[in-house]
């Protein structure tokens, strides 16, 4: 079958890459521990802070769970991107990218495998933490039901967009750009209003905030926890923005890959 542009997606090749990352995780308990460690620390810091201020401020007493909900959703966003980017980085650390790039694996299949691994890594890290949130702070994120599914879908789409873009930059610029994988998402933290309402920002910055899909999710989470109201309008707007950002990220990745082929950087992508 002719596939000049490499746009077909073969499940057996995606499966082969997922298997490769599962083998890696199985072989390394520190990698699994690292997935759980930071989300757990975050949960306890913000959980105890919430307990403290809820005992001293009436508003927070009524809005129990806002901080814990925010920290769990932030971790979906951040860990989702990290799960994607770290799996990609594993290939660079292992100097295996050359082997993959001369194999029949299409870029789209590689990206699909990284997206699946981002969910696998997220599940390993976040499921135990959500259970700890129930046990220690009485906050059950699963009680959000359909809203949680909408929040998750929007956050994971944003995390993949950032992960895809970072992977493209790594392909093009090599390991010199590694720090982007660990830090880029933090630019979004103040702008997407994880822990405070958008109205807190100066008006000009609110425009920037509303251009980012996670802002709608965090506003939606606060509306649900404080006012017990599910804002479907916010989720739909986030979804529309995500469609734009995700498409832009895929196009950028393919362009950066093309540029890497022109520059010869696929041959020198080691540590």
């Amino acid at each position: 079958m002719s596939d000049t542009f490499g746009l077909t997606l073969a499940p057996h090749r995606v499966g082969a890459m997922v298997l490769r990352y599962i083998y890696l995780l199985r072989s390394s308990w520190p990698r699994i521990l690292e997935l759980v460690y930071w989300p757990t620390m975050q949960l306890f810091v913000w959980g105890f802070l919430q307990l403290y201020i809820s005992q001293n401020a009436g508003f927070f007493a009524r809005a129990g769970g806002v901080f814990i909900g925010a920290v769990l959703l932030w971790d979906i966003l951040f860990r989702g991107q990290l799960g994607f980017s770290v799996s990609f980085l594993e290939e660079m650390w292992a100097r295996n990218l050359g082997n993959l790039m001369i194999s029949p694996l299409r870029p789209i299949e590689f990206v699909a495998a990284l997206m699946i691994m981002s969910i696998v890594r997220l599940a390993i890290g976040m499921v135990p933490v959500t259970l700890l949130a129930i046990a220690f702070f009485g906050f059950n994120i699963y009680s959000l039901g359909f809203a949680l599914a909408a929040f998750f879908a929007n956050l994971i789409l944003t995390s993949w967009s950032v992960g895809i873009l970072v992977s493209g930059v790594l392909l093009r610029n090599g390991m010199g750009a590694e720090s982007l994988a660990w830090t880029l998402m933090f630019v979004l933290m103040p702008l997407t209003c994880v822990y405070y309402p958008v109205a807190t920002l100066p008006s000009w910055l609110q425009v920037v905030a509303w251009s980012l899909p996670p802002t709608y999710v965090f506003e939606g989470m606060r509306a649900l926890v404080i006012s017990h109201e599910f804002r479907a309008d916010l989720m739909l707007q986030a979804c529309a923005l995500n469609a734009v950002y995700f498409s832009a990220a895929v196009v950028s990745f393919l362009q950066l890959l093309k540029s890497a082929r022109r520059q010869g950087s696929l041959m020198q992508s080691g540590e």
């Binding site: 490499g6 082969a16 490769r20 083998y23 890696l24 029949p104 694996l105 022109r262 010869g264 080691g270």
Partner: protein, 251 residues
């Protein structure tokens, strides 16, 4: 009817800024042939191989592999090609069997368990098949890299210094396995090497490169006669130091 070459390189150029890494080279590799790409460091061998693989985009000129234009149509033929180089690695934490399983699945190898067992027997991998790849010696790693390169029984096999850093005994062993594979499968092999003994033993044709250009292209026997030398190493030194050009000018 004439048979189309397995690989055709036509007026291939690759520039990086002001540097011409490959400078207008042309050659064709007949199906089933084994050819050496010889040259010193920076001669353009690895860049040429990378362009044949579709890893690097040419600045101008063209490459065709098994009828497909590279890199544009690479996905039509990548499943029929493979590559081995000491400069790329396989995941260290995965066992040899796991690595071969992953690559076998990427290449959609039929009866993968059987193919891995065959390779283990042919390349003596059985004793460390379930050991992490990172814990192998240099010789064992080369054998595993060769197993990965042969997993799909490629029609076109590109090798970049396949015996670099190996002791003479292991290097000879690897050459013998390569020769056996080519004879049995009829694959086209292009081998970049600094090792003249390897080239003399394996290759029926030698393409000598210097500063991105082809300096000479012939059978080892004819090269020895033309340069009046006993070994390819002496020919290599003549080409590297420009003595060939001086001799031709004198003649």
């Amino acid at each position: 009817m004439p048979v189309e070459p397995a690989v055709t390189v036509d007026q291939l150029v690759k520039t990086y800024g002001a540097t011409r890494a490959v400078d207008g080279i042309s050659f064709a590799l007949a199906a089933g042939s084994i050819t050496a790409l010889l040259g010193g460091n920076g001669a353009g061998k690895t860049t040429t191989i990378a362009m044949i693989l579709g890893l690097v985009m040419p600045t101008s000129g063209g490459v065709r592999v098994l009828g497909a234009e590279m890199p544009r149509q690479r996905y039509q033929v990548l499943h029929r090609m493979n590559f081995e180089s000491p400069y790329i690695d396989m995941p260290h934490r995965l066992t040899v069997r796991q690595n071969l399983t992953v690559f076998g699945r990427l290449y959609a190898v039929a009866d993968l368990a059987g193919r891995i067992a065959d390779l283990a027997a042919q390349l003596d991998l059985a004793e460390f098949l379930d050991r992490p790849s990172g814990k192998l010696s240099a010789g064992q790693k080369t054998r595993v890299a060769l197993a990965k390169a042969l997993i799909n029984q490629p029609d076109v096999l590109l090798l970049d210094e396949p015996t670099a850093s190996l002791d003479p005994d292991t290097a000879d062993w690897v050459r013998e396995r390569l020769e056996r594979f080519r004879k049995r499968h009829g694959a086209t092999v292009l081998l970049a090497s600094h090792n003249m003994a390897e080239v003399e033993r394996l290759c029926e044709r030698v393409i000598m490169m210097k500063r991105g250009r082809i300096e000479d292209d012939d059978t080892p026997a004819r090269l020895l006669t033309r340069y009046g030398r006993q070994t390819l190493e002496e020919v290599f030194l003549d080409v590297a130091r420009g003595r060939g050009e001086a001799r031709e000018a004198a003649q």
